[in-house]
Amino acid sequence: MKLPDLTELALRNLRESLLRNSLTTVGISVGVASLVAMLSLGIGLQQMASRRLVKSGLFDTIIVSSRREMRGMGREEERNGPIPGESRILDEPARLEIGRLENVSEAYPDIRFATELRFEDRPHLTMISALPLSARTNDAFEGMQGRFFSSESEPGVILQKSFAEELLGRTPPLGQPEPNVAELAKPLLGKELLMRYAQRAAAQSAAEASNSDSNELIGASYSVVSREQKLTIVGVADLDPESMRGPTRAKVFLPLKLAESLHVMLPTDLREIARASDQPVYSSISVRVKNPAQIQAVEDKIKKMGFTTFSIADASKGLRQFFGVLYAFLGIFGSLALIVASIGIVNTLVMAILERRREIGIMKAIGASDADVRKLFFAEAGAMGVLGGMLGVILGWAIGQAINFGTNVYLRRQSLPAEHFWAVPWWLVAFAIGFAFVVSLVSGLYPAGRAAKLDPVQALRYE
């Protein structure tokens, strides 16, 4: 029998016992829906995670430091790298050189220092770091109150929420709910902070410096001057942009150019004092790569230049593996319902054989071959599979939308940004329908074989 005829007859037969076949089809669609729901949740979570990770800057950032800087994070370099004293100095020419490397979008110094900030005449000691304008897309600033810096030299400051709490004296006790950022930001935005810091000023003259002591001046010389800088609070960030830095993470952020122009005395300045240079020396610089995929290549190049590098691109491999396992589990749980549904198909078709025994006998008597009968039952199973699959995809999608909606209502109540953690890509739709089709055909194997083998004489005698 030709395929269009088979399909037509199969659909006709399905319509004949409409209730039973509809119920079976609904069974399949529930199975498919659960599969789609499970897998799309997994896919959505992965997409959300990778979106978050890319935005967090973790996966496109390499932190470069000199071996002279003993905070280097690469254990391997400690053993195999050059000895610290001979390592290259991470100064301005080195930064520019790294910035010119292929696939590097920017290389900016990590300016990070602890100092005192005065707010309403009360001193607060904290860690401050400088941000380039490109940090604007960092998801830590999503849901921020106020705004990001308008330029890199604006005398503005962004506070991390916990520091805002400290300024207002509203740090909640441990275990208590955190106050809302919007409430914290209201009394702070537009207010002024006074930053007191140590400036590294060039020495008046080398002679003066050498006179002060009998020792010969062999390196740079500078004096340290106490300075004040007025800063306007422009934003309060809800999340922690520097969570990966651990104890050295900053809670107050300045625009990069402004921070550079202040010439704040940095810890490295003391260590590098033996060097005869006025050029700034950086403890570390952050290198942003255009595409996270190129991070390894860029890292290798920087290592060849004699620096220590650190990135957590390797962590993403583990993450992919985790999601692979998650898919497998979600898929297995999702398929369970489909397997139950496939037993429904077997049952429905076996019942149909009993009911249509005589019909099968008639068809054989007027010339249907075993293959015709088998194909007809296969087509019925397949049609139920495809219909159930399509219905199931719609159902699964609807469930996903409902859960997405519900969760976002919850997130909004918690003043968290809405998330789209449910994704039904087209390949999942195709896969789900295809899988339902295959499962239904497999379920149809036994009933179809049984129908095909029916003895026509016996079948015709059956009333």
């Binding site: 068809m363 008597a365 010339g367 249907a368």
Partner: protein, 248 residues
């Protein structure tokens, strides 16, 4: 060169059975439904298989129809040894060589009349347009064209049997096998149906084998009567159709 003898219309053998047996096992007992029947049927003949119920006449018909296989012996129809055909070939044989009508019509209830009639053409993979026209033609021949879109349950018994006849004709088989075709009909519609079967035999040259237990019916239409009892052939006699002068 030898001269070809001018013998007009040499009759070929349509069916030949040779010591044909069909035994069933029922627990300990063996039922000899057909027990050593040897028989030759010329093509174009109208044969009636007569006998009381359980005489083996329906089993014989099933063997000729290729619905069943002999336990031993052979049945050769149009040069095909049915015992040697595969299941697949047997299905093809039923599709193209044989047309069958039954006592209980055996139409598929979920299909309309025309769909029932064209069903064998679906198995023969005939395309839709040709299927439609052949089915209409066959329905016209049995006078049922007006009711072709009805379901079998909406038809009278006679109409259902006419639909079944149209279905049996659709693949233009050489052999028409009828199993008690008037068994479920009153005598008037029975006569209508039998007249139609008779016309197929005469006008289309179909070989007809009809199973019946009504001797008068056989005497009126058949050219030859075979009597079976306990699976054995007990009598084989020619008949002049119309001799009984109608049903009962």
């Amino acid at each position: 060169m030898t001269t070809v003898p001018a013998v007009p219309a040499i009759r070929t053998i349509a069916i030949r059975s040779d010591n044909l047996c069909r035994h069933y096992r029922m627990g300990e007992n063996v039922i000899r439904a057909v027990d050593g029947v040897s028989l030759e049927v010329q093509s174009g003949e109208f044969l009636a298989l007569l006998g009381s119920s359980g005489s083996g006449k329906s089993s014989m018909l099933n063997l000729i129809a290729g619905l069943d296989r002999p336990t031993s012996g052979s049945v050769i129809v149009q040069d095909r040894d049915l015992a040697k055909l595969s299941r697949e070939e047997l299905a093809k044989y039923r599709l193209h060589v044989v047309g069958m009508v039954f006592q209980s019509f055996n139409l598929i209830a979920s299909m309309t009349v025309i769909e029932n009639v064209e069903l064998p053409l679906r198995f023969a993979e005939v395309d839709r347009a040709r299927r439609q026209s052949l089915a209409r033609e066959a329905l016209e021949r049995v006078g049922l064209k007006a009711r072709m879109d009805h379901r079998p349950s909406e038809l009278s018994g006679g109409e259902q049997q006419r639909a079944a006849l149209a279905r049996a004709l659709i693949n233009r088989p050489q052999l028409l096998l009828a199993d008690e075709p008037t068994g479920n009909l009153d005598s008037r519609t029975g006569t209508e149906i039998m007249d139609m079967v008779g016309s197929f035999n005469r006008e289309l040259g179909m070989t007809v084998v009809m199973v019946t237990h009504e001797r008068t019916l056989a005497e009126r239409y058949a050219g030859r009567m075979i009597f079976l009892a306990d699976g054995k052939l007990v009598d084989d006699r020619p008949n002049r159709p119309g001799s009984a002068g109608g049903l009962r």
